[in-house]
């Protein structure tokens, strides 16, 4: 039994030491039990008798959203909520019914509250109604004796001082749904979370961290004392690249038209304004949308909830021509001096493709063809380039795939090529299909954001990923995180080519026969391109857009940048089913926004000068 030990003495010594340490540790635990169960036993037993310790949350203030000059776009304000702790309500049904009278709630509402109460631990509070009116708060406070377990909590509520301005980008908040709860374990029932837009994408950063208090309450749920408290950590402030003044100007420039405006800074990708109209008022969501209001929004034929700026996909029409022009010059299909004769039609096989101008444009070079938007000129370029080459350049300008803006569900538009046709339809590409593509019709689609992005690329010779959020800041203004400008892969187009195409766009706005003269400004050279994209294929008959039913009318486009020599702003305007073409409907909107941009800039410089 006590034979030779094979294990070294040092090892046995250490094991003996471990035994001593273990004994000591377990003895300490026995002492801990002694302390809890004997020394503090009576006290803790009294607490357990009628368990009156409650966990009350301190809601974290949701972070603000501000524009690039730190003007408030979204903030949180105080709101009064009626809250019920079922455990403290002596007769739950009776209490809920009494409460319903004060709050003017229907029988259906009370049933819903009772159902919710049945599903959850009895000590957890339930929000009965948010955003109480002042008389409701007073009613609850004065009838406290009849309402055991009911109390009024002050919680922050979301407020959007600008109402419908930028609403699609900002998004809205709503009460967490059972689905959200299952997906994210950090949510708690009753939380308000971002449901769309920036509120959703940056929910985690905006939300902050809830705190709370452990309180001892009396029989009707009134607080007797606070046992422990953890402060809430407020959410971060989101600083956007948007300029609120310019945003307002763009909203009013578009007026009552249905459509979108996207203005970007071509030097870094900053989104200066992003309008989608019609819009909605996110304030309605903050205090709980009634089902009637919700249905009205959903059923509105003009789709106010749709974010047209980057989820709406439209044929870009003639705005696409600047890409085809760049491709043709870069590929050496044509040089700036070559002229092509436009007689008003272009024959291809059996078919005749028309130019928008009945009588034709005569002989035009590239700059003139862009300025006058000659379709026949571009049919010929497209035919020589082939659809795959056009597609390659369109993709280089950022079309055909989402631009990568931080907001979710961005549409990518469509840039067709042979392979796509084969995969999509199982058919080869027919050469005749290249002609509509070369004037931005046919299968081609793009979002207004993509077109602003593409024209910014033309302006600068390179692309930056659209940047909507500049920085995250703490409540006190300390920087948490900033987002650098993100340069995208090279355009692979020679500077000389870009210069020639830009000249064409300058002539669109400033040339005698330009199609976009309504965007011209005094003192600033605007370069732009009009587009009028067909919604329904026309037969032989030519009908004026204004004579068609609304949903068959053309879309009007205008893309532009300015000043042409040293671009600071690039813009895309889309008007859905417009009463006229790009030149008459969309170009003035773009002109107004660009004009406002330079007016604002001048004012700011003047103010800065005065301050120094």
């Amino acid at each position: 039994m006590f034979g030779s030990h094979e294990v070294p003495a040092e090892l046995r010594r250490r094991i003996a030491f471990a035994s001593a340490a273990v004994s000591l540790a377990l003895l300490l635990l026995v002492l801990r039990m002694w302390s809890l169960q004997i020394l503090h036993g009576a006290e803790l037993a009294a607490l357990s008798e009628n368990n009156r310790i409650r966990l009350r949350r301190i809601a974290a203030t949701r972070g603000r959203v501000v524009d690039r000059h730190h003007r408030v776009l979204v903030e949180s304000e105080a709101s009064y909520d009626a809250v019920l702790v079922p455990e403290d309500a002596r007769d739950l049904e009776n209490t809920v019914e009494t409460l319903a009278q004060f709050l003017e709630q229907s029988a259906a509402d009370t049933t819903a509250i009772l159902e919710r109460a049945a599903k959850r631990p009895k000590f957890q509070e339930i929000v009965v109604k948010r955003g109480l009116e002042w008389h409701e708060v007073v009613a609850i406070e004065t009838h406290q004796a009849d309402l055991p377990g009911v109390s009024v909590h002050v919680t922050p509520r979301r407020s959007y001082p600008e109402g419908p301005v930028l609403a699609h980008v900002l998004g809205y908040v709503g009460e967490v749904s059972p689905g959200d709860l299952a997906e994210n374990s950090s949510y708690r029932s009753g939380d308000l979370i971002g449901k769309s837009g920036l509120e959703k994408v940056f929910d985690e950063q905006l939300r902050g961290i809830n705190g709370g208090r452990h309180v001892e309450v009396d029989a009707v749920g009134r607080e007797l004392r606070v046992l422990d408290k953890v402060d809430a950590v407020p959410g971060s402030t989101l600083v956007l690249s948007v300029d609120l003044d310019l945003q307002r100007a763009a909203e009013s420039a578009l007026g009552e038209e249905v459509g979108a405006v996207v203005a970007v800074d071509p030097t870094n990708g900053d989104i200066l304004a992003m309008v989608s109209r019609p819009s909605f008022d996110p304030n309605a969501f903050a205090s709980g949308l009634r089902s009637k209001e919700w249905r009205a929004l959903i059923e509105d034929p003009r789709d106010p909830l749709t974010q047209r700026a980057f989820r709406g996909q439209y044929p870009p029409g003639s705005t696409f021509k600047f890409i085809v022009a760049a491709a043709a010059l870069e590929e050496g299909i044509i040089n700036p001096f070559n002229e092509i004769r436009c007689s008003g039609t272009h024959g291809f096989g059996e078919r005749q493709f028309r130019c928008w101008r009945h009588g034709g444009h005569g002989s035009v070079n590239l700059v003139q063809a862009l300025a006058q938007s000659c379709d026949v000129f571009f049919y010929q370029l497209g035919q020589k380039l082939g659809v795959d080459t056009i597609a390659r350049y369109a993709r280089a300008f950022g079309l055909g795939e989402p631009t990568g803006i931080v907001l979710g569900h961005e549409a990518g538009g469509l840039v067709p090529d042979r392979e796509w046709k084969r995969e999509r339809f199982g058919e080869p590409w027919y050469p005749g299909e290249t002609l509509p593509v070369s004037i931005g019709q046919g299968y081609v689609t793009a979002t207004p954001l993509q077109m602003a992005h593409a024209v910014a690329g033309l302006a600068m010779g390179k692309l930056y990923r659209p940047r909507l959020v500049l920085a995250l800041e703490e409540q006190n203004g300390a920087l948490v995180d900033s987002v650098p400008a993100d340069e995208m892969p090279d355009l692979a187009v020679r500077p000389a080519v870009l210069a020639e195409v830009r000249e064409g766009l300058v002539q669109v706005v400033n040339g005698v026969r330009g199609t976009g003269k309504k965007a011209a400004l005094e003192g600033i050279t605007v370069a732009g391109k009009t587009g009028t994209s067909q919604v329904v294929a026309m037969g032989r008959k030519r009908v004026k857009s204004s004579e068609l039913p609304r949903e068959q009318r053309d879309h009007a486009w205008f893309v532009a940048f300015a000043p042409a020599e040293a671009p600071e702003i690039a813009i895309a305007v889309l008007v859905e089913h417009a009463s006229g073409g790009g030149g008459s409907v969309a170009a003035p909107v773009a002109g107004e926004v660009i004009g406002e941009y330079f007016r604002l800039k001048q004012t700011r410089e003047a103010v800065r000068y005065a301050q120094n």
Binding site: V7, E10, L11, L29, V30, L36, P121, H214
Partner: protein, 367 residues
């Protein structure tokens, strides 16, 4: 290999076996109470746990029968299998409660991290036994044991399961200490890292601290956890000297206790059995752990000594941390109480561990 030697039968490790059976009994009894409802006295939890305990006893027998010295050759194989199962969890595991910790096998779900605890002790014992207790333990030799710990730690952190990672760290540390890690290494490390941690932490911005905390433990709700601990303390304390009696705990019945059958099972026990019961339970654990260390000290060879000591350390740390945590002396980190907390894989792994320690004990006289 599995042939049963008469001498081995005569040497069966009865004290450890009896202590184990007593603790398993306590555990089943407490789970019955923690999940008791008058309409349905035997909850699914209780029934499942009983089945797992039965399977565990079979595991214990198997773990006891082969000669543990085979681990000289197969120690690393055991480790690699355990790592592979953790990788599978990371790729195709079953989610539950916000974490991905299980492998689903038809009706049963296995939690590989529980078996990793055994595998880590086995591989460390295999790696360290050659020079344990000698003076050859130099700093350079630590690289391998640290790597052997780091791989599973990384995989388990991704599930995420901070509690188990902390436990693995403590177990690895314990095995190294017993194997002969010079005390001065530990003291130097403590002197360097100890003050640096809070210092560095304070210099982080609040959002950075938040990021780290939420990286390590995404489910953590500091306030909710505090509330649970408070309720747990009330439950334990209200048991007073004699307890409220079996099935009479009120904290538990009103659902004030979170996870009353897993992490917080001790408070259910302590509320019903009082200080007397808690002291007896702690005495049972003490006896089991000290018996395990005695076996380690008397082992035939270093491998056996480290194996027995390491497996015993696993039980010790879990008991100490869990009870300290439920009684509010340590932050809540999600470590279960051996033999009492609900969890099939945990029960199975623990009984296999006991079998291995018995294995070491029974072979101390063989050659």
């Amino acid at each position: 290999m599995l042939r049963i030697d008469r001498r081995l039968v005569a040497n069966i490790e009865w004290p450890l076996l009896v202590l184990t059976l007593l603790l398993v009994g306590c555990g089943l009894m407490t789970i019955l109470s923690a999940t008791y409802e008058e309409s349905r006295p035997f909850s699914t939890f209780f029934i499942k746990q009983s089945i797992w305990a039965g399977a565990g006893l079979v595991g214990l027998l198997v773990a006891m029968m082969f000669d543990y010295r085979l681990l000289h050759r197969y120690g690393y194989v055991v480790y690699v299998i355990a790592i592979a199962s953790l990788v599978i969890v990371n790729i195709a595991g079953v989610r539950g409660g916000g974490a991905q910790r299980w492998i689903g096998l038809g009706p049963v779900a296995l939690q590989p991290s529980e078996f990793m605890k055994i595998a880590l002790v086995v591989v460390l014992a295999t790696n360290l036994h050659r020079w344990a207790g000698g003076t050859r333990l130099r700093l350079g030799r630590l690289a391998m044991p640290i790597a052997l710990f780091a791989v599973p730690a990384f995989l388990i952190l991704r599930q995420p399961d901070l509690g188990t990672v902390i436990l693995l760290g403590l177990v690895a540390f314990s095995v190294l200490m017993i194997a002969g890690l010079p005390l001065r290494f530990v003291m130097i490390a403590a002197l360097v890292v100890g003050p640096a941690l809070p210092f560095g932490w304070q210099h982080l911005k609040p959002y950075q601290q938040r990021r780290i905390v939420s990286f390590l433990d995404p489910q953590k709700d500091p306030l909710g956890a505090g509330y649970h601990v408070l309720q747990s303390k009330i439950a334990i304390g209200s048991g007073m000297v004699h307890g409220k009696g079996y099935l009479q705990g009120t904290q538990n019945n009103l659902h004030f206790l979170p996870e009353q059958h897993t992490d917080f099972v001790f408070s259910v026990f302590a509320e019903e059995w009082g200080f007397v019961g808690s002291a007896v339970l702690l005495a049972l654990y003490a006896a089991m752990i000290l018996r395990g260390l005695v076996i380690a000290g008397k082992a035939k060879d270093n491998l056996g000594a480290l194996l027995a000591a390491g497996l015993t350390a696993t039980v010790f740390w879990q008991v100490a941390i869990n009870i300290a945590m439920t009684s509010g002396a340590l932050p809540v980190v999600g470590i279960t109480l051996p033999f009492l907390s609900y969890g099939g894989s945990s029960m199975l792994a623990l009984l296999i561990s006991v079998g291995l320690v018995m294995n070491v004990s029974m072979r101390r006289h063989t050659f």
